[in-house]
Symmetry: C2
Subunit: 209 residues, 2 copies
């Protein structure tokens, strides 16, 4: 059976119900911990599910930030220092990753017990136990007129990957890396591979590769 919601019925529904539903509609979302620090070196760590690929050459990543949420520290630190890290999450520490979204007085690293890691003089902390860590620099920000959400675009300057998950063609085996994905606001999953598929051509059906 199919359940239908019109825009009016969504707007009239309970705000908790609406938030849960709308956050699930795009499907599974990427999960990354974003590491930053302010100009005094105080570190911050926050979970983001709206990080996405923008381009491969040069390598660019985008993320959406709400200006008026608890995650504001992340944006302020990025604007202040110009740098941030992205860290994939595994089942070993997804509960600590979720816990970083609480309102902590001090650093989320101290609060949750997640260990920071530094690379040379890069001015943002990485998450030590993450299997895929990116060091990024700010390229530009754009404010979306429609609801003041801020799109942050970063250049991927440093990549650290667990070798066991790196294939010879450059792709990552996210099942081996045990990358966690999130749905809605609070539900976490790992992936279970169906197949890789061949480059699509209209004169033949796609095949598993």
């Amino acid at each position: 059976m199919i359940k239908y919601f019109s825009k009016d019925s969504i707007l009239e529904s309970d705000s908790f119900f609406r938030r849960n539903l709308i956050n699930c509609l795009s499907g599974y979302k990427s999960l990354n911990l974003i590491g930053t620090q302010d100009s005094t070196g105080k570190t911050n760590l926050a979970p983001f599910s709206q990080v996405f690929h923008i381009g491969a050459s040069p390598p660019l990543v985008g993320m959406l930030v709400r200006p008026h949420t608890v995650k504001r520290d992340t944006l302020e630190n990025i604007l202040e220092t110009g740098f941030f890290t992205l860290n994939q999450v595994t089942p070993e520490f997804y509960k600590e990753a979720h816990w970083t979204s609480a309102r902590w007085e001090g650093s989320e690293f101290e609060g949750t017990g997640l260990k920071p890691e530094y690379f040379e003089d890069f001015p943002a902390p990485f998450v030590k136990d993450s299997p895929v860590k990116l060091g990024c620099s700010l390229v530009e920000t754009q404010t979306l007129k429609v609801n003041q959400t801020i799109l942050v675009i970063g250049s991927i300057d440093h990549i650290f990957v667990e070798e066991e998950g790196l294939r010879t063609d450059g792709s990552l085996d996210l099942n081996v890396l045990e990358t966690v994905t999130v749905s809605g606001l609070d539900e976490y999953h790992v992936g279970k591979k169906l197949a890789r598929l061949s480059y699509a051509k209209s004169d033949r059906e796609v095949e598993e590769i």
Copy 2:
């Protein structure tokens, strides 16, 4: 063992290797088939992995479109008619979903055998077998200065959900709906739930709910 890539080593690497790697770095991505039609009613269907939540009130969705790819028809149709559909993919038809990315002379529906479905006079086709279907209208587009990628923002006007996957709190059980997620350019997965976690507070550890 950790493998390190600097920005320079990424830019100097083989373009196939680079594209595979960079496309995997954000983690699992949402997968949606976007349905559109032109002013003559000719339908188009294309897979997108860069669809994301922008806001819940009003309900807004965003997607990134490259202007110079085979998926250009989608953007042109959206600009022409102002409407599009988003359709989650299941293991039953993920191969056909991938196949829609080939260069088809006619409609991707006819080419791949996926069945279209229409709702009243909404001017874009839905995918009949999809468990989560959204009818959206164009709100605004923004071109990213950095690489001319286009951000399309849509209002979610109609939602169709398989009832078996809709929980009483509004969230969707994507495991039950068998929603497919994609990594990199060509690898498909289903999700396997770890847990839902309680609202995070700094004075207590998060719990499974």
